[in-house]
Amino acid sequence: MKELALHILDIAQNSIVAGATLIRIGIAEDMQRDVLSMTIEDNGKGMPSDMVERVMSPYTTSRTTRKVGMGLPLLHDACLAANGMLTIESVENEGTKVLATIQLSHIDRQPLGDITGVIVLLFSANPNIDFVYSHVRNQNSYIFDTREVKELLEGIPLNTPEVIKSIREMIALNLDEL
């Protein structure tokens, strides 16, 4: 895993498995405080507190196909490597919030990578889940909300190839301008 965007794609899978109907992904780049923070917040089934304590261990997983789960440990490692930290808050039947903070200028900070591609992939592969993506860079911000787009397109599925292409263009252009 070499890009932060891929970590986000990976952590969001946990939310999908947790039965979330709304996933919020937030990225904030604050050059003044020299902090990059990323949040993935869902309204899925959450975890009991003993699970939250164990979840950073690679030998903890909810899956049945094998005994290891590397998603959170890898992100944890990426945070620690760049003077950051990873916190997880979870309430059963309400949802889970994963917050990663990383030193923006740290030499070992992974590049953000293709975040537009990740967001596009998430909503096009999961038509029944809504996504809210917010990106703050210093004083500027951009928010993309699939619920808004769904309402606007009145029933045209977001995973229609032409729609995917246009939304990708829209997100990329707006991020460029931040």
Binding site: M1, L6, L9, D10, Q13, V17, R63, T65, R66, G69, M70, G71, L74, D114, G117, V118, L121, S124, A125, N126, E148, V149, L152, L153, E154, I156, N159, T160, P161, E162, V163, I164, S166, I167, E169, M170, L173, N174
Partner: protein, 132 residues
């Protein structure tokens, strides 16, 4: 073509989207679509599943193949990631392993277009004569 930047721009393209969908649905019922699932767990993502999925979505559209590409969790074949499951209409799904863009291209050209099997199939869901 003007670039889409705001929701208003997107709304303007609504009719265009609609006509594309109608064109596609003409004569083909939704059950006859090719269904592809890309395994998208930590193992898959780390070995390039995102690139493969983007390639599939783009190329299937370019080659005018009516397909839905979605994602799934780990299928348990971490050693062979990226893995994809392809289900042709009225057929049992087939799982392919070690799929990079080149392999994905081969799967589209040979398996999806002609039903010809290609290397790299993971025997996941097969029936022996005994349990048939």
């Amino acid at each position: 073509m003007t670039k889409v930047k705001s929701l208003a721009d997107l709304k303007k393209m609504k009719d265009q989207f609609q006509s594309k969908i109608e064109l596609r649905e003409k004569g083909e019922d939704p059950d006859s679509r090719v269904q592809i699932k890309v395994a998208m767990a930590t193992c898959g993502i780390a070995s390039g599943a995102k690139t493969v999925m983007e390639f599939l979505i783009e190329e299937l559209d370019k080659r005018s193949i009516d397909a839905v590409v979605t994602q799934t969790g780990c299928m348990g074949y971490c050693y062979a990631e990226p893995t994809i499951e392809v289900k042709l209409p009225n057929q049992e799904p087939v799982v392919f392993g070690y799929v990079n863009n080149q392999k994905a291209d081969e799967i589209i050209e040979k398996y999806i277009k002609n039903g010809e099997l290609v290397d790299g199939i993971i025997p996941m869901n097969y029936n022996t004569i005994d349990n048939q």
